[in-house]
Symmetry: C2
Subunit: 369 residues, 2 copies
């Protein structure tokens, strides 16, 4: 495996450095929600603990029938197209493997900046990753993507709402990416795990394109604040389902049932208010955090979706070493921009998953004052 496969542990490296620090540090490295999961999720788990022991045995490999039905209804697709996975992480692995198996190229076109697992997975699967810098808005540069695409392209893989830029791709952009994929007999893989964190109102799922080239992944790690439960899913075009199911079965047998049962209950019983409440809380956090960045004289992104802010401080590029300096001297831990590619190497990513985001912001303002 290439170096790319080892990018992600940088997250852990930074978190460990922060944990060892000789002072109080506000952690804004990893995207673990700090808010409460839906009450019904806890209820589901509590009830499950007392279920008959036959409920503790293998669920269907592709996921509990009722859960797939709930997912399919929300996504407006045939339940037969849904595979429940060990988080969106496995879902992305399955869609990328499926793209490789078509025998139509082995290159993945990615954006720069990019979530580092994608190039890591590409390399692990024996493919190559090509990163195309995004526009200043954080949106994909469709013209540059078209330029980079070739018959060697197995898939274009994007993430919207986007980590780390906060962009929410509009429908025209996704359609245009789909066209580029189609022109090169490639697939379009869209990771929509932040689908519940759209502040712009512009998010539209790629599933609405209703194309047999579109594979969509998502999960409940973020929307239900349960990154440790590992329940996600992939929606495949019908003819790509069987081999994806086989790989899922041969790698994992099935996704854990306690998690599936709890998520099913939460899907059924959680009102839209829960998600709206989370968005409101995040909007507020983002607002006061970026206000403080203004005070610090930093450039920054104002996320239209997801919950990350990229900030650029003058003469202070987003290297691992500068991130460590910020931990020691300001007491704030972010993620080096260089972890996401070259395009935002000067930036530092802050995950707004702490009630102390305000405190972090004023520490940054003081430090850079």
């Amino acid at each position: 495996m290439g170096d790319d496969a080892y990018d992600e542990p940088l997250f852990f490296q930074v978190m460990q450095y922060a944990a060892r620090a000789d002072r109080d540090v506000v952690g804004m490295v990893s995207g673990d929600p700090d808010w409460e999961p839906p009450q019904a999720l806890r209820d589901g788990l509590r009830e499950y603990a007392d279920a008959d022991s036959d409920q503790f045995q293998y669920p269907p490999s592709e996921g509990l029938r009722e859960l797939r039905a709930e997912i399919a209804e929300r996504r407006n697709v045939d339940p037969a197209r849904v595979v429940v996975t060990n988080g969106a992480g496995e879902a992305n692995y399955l869609t990328m493997a499926r793209a490789m198996e078509r025998g139509s190229g082995s290159e993945f076109l990615l954006t720069d900046p990019v979530y580092p697992y994608y190039p890591g997975k590409a390399t692990m699967l024996g493919g190559e990753a090509t990163k195309v810098p995004v526009l200043e808005s954080g949106d994909p540069d469709v013209a540059a993507m078209r330029e980079a695409a070739s018959p060697e392209t197995a898939a274009i893989l994007v993430n919207t709402p986007n980590n780390p830029t906060g962009a929410v791709y509009d429908r025209e952009t996704v359609e245009a990416l789909h066209d580029v994929a189609a022109e090169n007999d490639a697939l379009l893989l869209v990771d929509e795990v932040y689908d519940h964190f759209d502040f712009s109102g512009d998010f539209e799922s790629a599933l609405t394109l209703d194309s047999d080239r579109v594979l969509v992944t998502s999960g409940y790690s973020k929307s239900m604040a349960i990154t440790g439960f590992r329940v996600g899913y992939a929606v495949f075009p019908e003819e790509l389902v069987p081999e994806a199911k086989t790989r899922h079965m041969l790698v994992n047998v099935a996704t854990n049932r306690p998690g599936q049962v709890a998520v099913l209950r939460a899907l059924r019983e959680t009102s839209p208010d829960y998600y709206e409440g989370t968005r409101d809380m995040l909007r507020e956090r983002i607002g006061s955090f970026t206000d403080a960045l203004d005070a610090a004289g930093a450039a920054y992104t104002s996320p239209r979706g997801a919950f990350y802010v990229l900030a650029r401080f003058e003469d202070f590029p987003g290297t691992l070493s500068n991130v460590e300096t910020l931990i020691d001297e300001a007491g704030v831990a972010g993620m080096p921009g260089e972890a996401f590619g070259d395009a935002y190497a000067d930036w530092i990513r802050f995950a707004l998953v702490t009630p102390r985001a305000d405190e972090a912001a004023s520490r940054l303002a003081d430090y850079f004052a």
Copy 2:
């Protein structure tokens, strides 16, 4: 992917056929325990449902520190060698992938009969599967394995206590297999998921060989009667750990935390009586089931480990079609021997995971009388 990858759904095919049958059927197809999990496991899950929401977030990718420590203590290895996986299924996938990545061959030497996931995984990973018929005792034919091994051999993969033969390999056999692996610069992968189901007293873990060629997998699906929880592990030689961890991270990010927490509690609080009680119950079931097979004039295996009995009825080979006939006409569902390879194609496997094993046995005795 080759045909092998599609063997396992035969399990589901048979179970679905049994479910659709127009009569009462005793199900003995799949290896889902029908007994109670340890009480502490339910306690662990119940307590977890009320834990702080930060306990619902990503565990370390390689598994909870305390869980790895408990596993390492029981297996008498360094915790750094343990990776907690999504069941023994993912553990086997990781060890097989690791064997391929060494660049020392791409062939897996397996036994015939064999658990059908192994050849399926080999094919998925781009390797080949070679099956070597076992001895009449169900033990591996070491001489034939040596004959079949070559520099093309990436690994020898065995399962003890064995599904489906019920053999428990003695230490000399495992040592001899290790020698064959070493002679061909291959690894020895040992799936010990039935380690708690040794009725013979002869089981010894391959980890006692203390060799840097030995990779051992196991899990809690069977020993704690929780096939749906997906908590297993692999123990790697130290120098093979890093890439295995990376693959685990890139495929699954981590193993679900509710399951890890519940298993950890159960490991800590469950007395040996629980496991001894299960073995006693199974010994009794096996005894009365095989007595009835005697009455039916069938040949059968008397398992020294695991919980499967292979039976051969005169002029009634273990084809899918005959298995369906038994469902319709005798009301007993087993697994076609042909699913496990050629060596036991005349046999039918019965999983003793139903309190109605006696009933099934007398139905078989009546049918073949």
